[in-house]
């Protein structure tokens, strides 16, 4: 689905969501309430400027203190890779955006991620992965790194990696593998109205971070949940 399709399905009565330089901001009516939207469209890389534009929009929502939910709609590239971005502290700007989303969520604004295209690496962590619940649409393509780049870094033949990717979800790019890791909670049905599906997610928010449980149940992250629980258990004992 394109962003326009998504917004039409979310807001049948119309909306005030706009896109400028690949950055999505605005809101629309959802079942008598407001749904705020921030996001990235068109496979746009996220740099220092874009991160602060989006974080400013999230802080604006928080100031209103109406507990309105925030949809984080993502079709991005990775973080913008440039000397200027790193010189200006890209790590701080991306972390600031993530912190804004995390604070909004804990302040009563439910945060729902929606990945409908690509996203990768730092841009993915700072946006979609900083929400309470991350949904995806079929055809989305989240990744950490594409396989040819993985081949370059690991010095393994691409053919071997492609073969391994079929049986080992833990390293391979793509939506199915991110679902298996528990990073993506649910894949939505594009044939049904999105506004009902998003309302359903808001009504059924997990009370805490369940991604490691999902990763264990789905087999994409077989041991993380147990290890985290073991460490926490030993820390709490004695």
């Amino acid at each position: 689905m394109t962003l326009a399709d998504i917004l039409a399905s979310l807001f049948p009565e119309g909306h005030g969501v706009t896109v400028a330089d690949g950055l999505v901001t605005g809101h629309g009516p959802l079942d008598g309430r407001t749904l705020h939207v921030v996001g990235i469209d068109g496979d746009t890389p996220l740099g220092v400027d874009g991160a602060l534009t989006l974080s400013a929009a999230v802080l604006d929502v928080m100031r209103a203190a109406d507990k309105a939910p925030i949809l984080v709609a993502i079709d991005s590239d990775s973080q913008r890779m440039s000397r200027r971005d790193e010189l200006l502290g890209l790590n701080e700007c991306l972390a600031h955006l993530a912190k804004a989303l995390l604070l909004a969520d804990r302040s009563g604004h439910p945060t729902i991620g929606l990945i409908y295209g690509h996203s990768a690496a730092g841009a993915f962590i700072a946006t979609a992965l900083a929400t309470r619940v991350l949904a995806a649409l079929p055809g989305a393509n989240p990744s950490v790194m594409d396989l040819p780049s993985v081949a370059r870094v690991t010095k393994l033949p691409l053919e071997k990696l492609q073969q391994m990717a079929k049986s080992t979800p833990v390293f391979a790019p793509g939506l199915d593998n991110m679902v298996a890791a528990g990073a993506v909670h649910v894949v939505l049905d594009p044939e049904r109205p999105l506004h009902a599906q998003i309302l359903g997610l808001i009504a059924d928010l997990p009370s805490h971070d369940v991604r490691d449980r999902l990763g264990q149940e789905r087999g994409g992250r077989p041991v993380a949940r147990d290890i985290a629980a073991r460490v926490a258990g030993q820390a709490r004992a004695g």
């Binding site: 600031h96 985290a228 926490a232």
Partner: protein, 305 residues
């Protein structure tokens, strides 16, 4: 403890994760969770014919620092570049989640990481997201999360984002913080954009001195475990709150940075605008001389983090 040597002279950069944590905390107080004897090793690395480590490259546990109870995690930058794999990340996540119940004075994260371990990329990336959520949960509960950065692997990729989530950061000159590493930028955008072999450029753009002068880090240490220990003790006392007022202040701080320095091509131009008389002298400056200069830069010290 076997690894205790003289922290006054022990180099943070050269030390192992175990040496760092043992010498950072009060002597003999470190107690490890899910230690090497439990053999919590990566289930994935053998598929790549890669050796595993008994601790998956991270040491987590508790101890005291200046008499206060703390939780601590130390990444080993020499094992797989300190990168986040499934178990490595889960150990940090578990530690941070426990902080809500244990209520330590602080959680210390001794960063030494290239980012996500590509052989376990999805698990590592998700663990980084879980870590950031757990850090903000801990901070909102009033627990300081202090990052210490000066290891050989630096603090790159998702590690840089986690660092940006901490309450306070201490760096040494070697403490490079960045999202895209020099090689990643060069591979994707070419050597004209970033020549990763130009080490002076790397240090100027990502190194501890630049990060301290621009307020990306709150303390600058000489490269000894003792200096990081003192910085950690001091920083715990001054950790900012995690609330809307702080984030508004950080928004203003970062916007001001982009506005003032957005057209600068090199760190030396930024340092000049920060009021440093001889910016070209900064890279070769001694730690003591640099600390004096940094103390005079108003932008370097703030509570907007």
């Amino acid at each position: 403890m076997p690894d205790v040597t003289d922290p006054q002279t022990l180099s943070w950069y050269e030390a192992s994760a175990r040496q760092r944590v043992a010498n950072l905390l009060d002597a003999g107080t470190f107690e490890e969770f899910v230690g090497p004897a439990e053999r919590a090793m990566s289930p994935h690395l053998p598929l790549f014919d890669l050796p595993r480590a008994f601790d998956d490259g991270i040491v987590v546990g508790r101890g005291t620092l200046g008499g206060k109870s703390v939780l601590a995690a130390a990444q080993e930058g020499r094992f797989m570049g300190g990168a986040f794999g499934e178990i490595h990340g889960a150990k940090l996540v578990g530690l941070l989640r426990a902080a809500l119940d244990v209520k330590p004075a602080a959680v210390l994260i001794l960063f030494d990481t290239g980012g996500v371990r590509l052989q376990e990329a999805n698990a590592g990336e998700t663990a980084i997201a879980e870590t950031m959520r757990a850090i903000t949960d801990a901070r909102a509960a009033g627990i300081s999360v202090i990052g210490l950065i000066g290891g050989r692997a630096g603090c790159f990729g998702g590690g840089g984002l986690i660092a940006g989530t901490c309450s306070r950061l201490a760096v040494s000159e070697s403490g490079r913080i960045s999202v895209s590493g020099p090689e990643v930028i060069e591979t994707n955008k070419g050597a004209e954009e970033f020549d990763s072999r130009d080490r002076a450029l790397v240090w100027r753009t990502m190194g501890g001195k630049h990060r301290r002068l621009t307020g990306s880090a709150d303390a600058y240490c000489e490269d000894t475990v003792a200096a990081f220990r003192q910085a950690a003790i001091d920083l715990i006392e001054t950790a900012p709150r995690f609330d809307l007022a702080m984030l508004e202040a950080e928004q203003g701080r970062l916007e001001a940075r982009l506005h003032r320095f957005g057209a600068c091509r090199d760190a030396t131009e930024i340092w000049a605008q920060l009021g440093i008389n001889d910016p070209d002298a900064v890279p070769a400056m001694t730690d003591a001389a640099f600390q004096e200069i940094a103390a005079g830069v108003t932008e370097a010290s703030h509570d907007a983090r």
